[in-house]
Point group: C2
Chain length 256, copies 2
């Protein structure tokens, strides 16, 4: 049974792309068939896998708006278990093009129908916004994974984020679940972060992953080599944390 | 002579709001009359000054779209030199409302005409996007200040950012300058960051501020007390760095 997970948080720089890229790689390392769609016009997830943004090959825009079949836009990355549909700069035009169409929120869900038979996990990396690309990802997803930095501004946006999930659930995707909140870039020596992490677990308890991703330079340096952290420095705490996250997600899937 | 500075970078989490809030406070400490507009629907700059986001009082949306006069939407904050126009959640609707209007990029510039006589500096905090709110800020500004984290993904977006400045300059705001690139959250012990900082200075030389903002917990903890870092912990390296930035900007203004 295939699971589609949208990785969302309108707050910028909280580790959405780092989580999308590294979770895709660690799930593939567990021999899960994984498809990652880069739904962010910035295209960071694409370059995180070494894909050039300005390539002439068709990408997510052609799949979403141009109706190119999925086989034409996927790229196989290092492992046979991992496919990536890269973003491109014309994706930022997609939001404006979709605004005046009918069922503008469901384009991605419609395009992904049937893809579930070829993949165990479909991951959607989203931009830092509440716009139509992010809404399309939430409508196409079974669940959302919310990376959260334990800092004041990031915490501030949580109630707004949970409200948008409720809106999507009520209208467009009643089955959408909150898959989990992932504490990222965590610095256990900063008292403010430890305090916020405690508050998050108090309020959201079971919804918070046991796995916590520490701040570690290997995670921020790996993208400059076009690789996820497990292919850049397998022994690093960043790699171990993302491997642990993949295993926690696989255990939860079994349990359901 | 009044200067309007838009603080922009479509990459998320690079310190736009931290810079907007702390530069506003340090310029006010140098007895400059400062107006800060929170142009981000997330409203982080508003809460960074202790302003509640869901207040019934009119805010930027009413000023921009509702044509309320500036005097009705400004809040004076702790010092007589500092005024803030807070954001509100309805600002996210503004982008869609503006799309089909004429001169949709120039609304903010028109609304701010005349404000220059009451302020020495007008700062515009922008969301992590290239949408209409950010374009409005770039059209209303004399110059842009670009906070930049010395990490790979943040560097990646620089060429796109510089291209958008060129587009705004060619069409809507020929006088728009690149005021400067500010290295933020800098960790001098991380070799990757030191390398990227060296590359940025090689390529962009004079456009990079001498002042570098270090990563320091006082900067990320101050917002939870609704205060800029100089009012939270004046002795911290974060406070000293932002004071230095204010002085560097004042020296440059004198030189022009
Ligand atoms: N665990 C970590 N340790 C150290 N650095 C990290 C970690 N996770 C992410 N980073 C770095 O922090 C920065 C922000 O992360 P990232 O770009 O993944 O966030 P994002 O939420 O996708 O940002 P945006 O909102 O712009 O899409 C990046 O430079 C990234 O490499
Ligand atoms: N010099 C610094 N030292 C430590 N933490 C910092 C520093 N500057 C910013 N931060 C923290 O890093 C996080 C990201 O910064 P900030 O929210 O200002 O970025 P932004 O670019 O405005 O984000 P967005 O793209 O969401 O608008 C915040 O939690 C902020 O408090
Ligand atoms: Mg991202
Ligand atoms: Mg901000």
């Amino acid at each position: 049974m295939s699971r589609t997970i949208a990785i969302v948080n309108q707050k910028g720089g909280v580790g959405k792309t780092a989580t999308a890229v590294n979770l895709a790689a660690t799930l593939a390392a567990c021999e899960q068939r994984v498809l990652l769609l880069d739904c962010d016009p910035q295209g960071n997830a694409s370059t995180g896998f070494g894909l050039r943004k300005n390539s002439p090959q068709p990408s997510l825009y052609q799949f979403l708006i141009g109706h190119n079949p999925l086989e034409q836009v996927v790229r196989q990355i290092i492992s046979p278990w991992l496919h990536v549909v890269p973003s491109s700069p014309d994706l930022s035009g997609a939001e404006i093009e979709l605004v005046n169409t009918s069922a503008r929120e469901s384009w991605l869900r419609k395009r992904l129908q049937g893809a579930g038979s070829s993949y165990d996990y479909i991951l959607l990396d989203c931009p830092p916004s509440l716009g139509l690309l992010t809404v399309n990802a939430k409508v196409a997803a079974d669940s959302v994974l919310v990376p959260l930095q334990c800092e004041f501004y990031a915490m501030e946006g949580m109630s707004q984020l949970l409200r948008t999930l409720e809106l999507v659930r009520r209208g467009l995707n009643p089955a959408l679940q909150l898959g989990g909140i992932l504490l990222t870039m965590f610095d256990a020596t900063a008292p403010g972060q430890v305090q916020i992490a405690r508050e998050v677990r108090q309020h959201l308890g079971l919804k918070v992953f046991d796995t916590v991703i520490p701040r570690h330079t290997a995670v921020s340096e790996a993208p400059s080599f076009g690789k996820p952290v497990i292919w850049y420095d397998l022994q690093s705490t960043g790699s171990r944390a993302y491997m642990q996250l993949a295993q926690e997600i696989l255990r939860k899937k079994e349990a359901n």
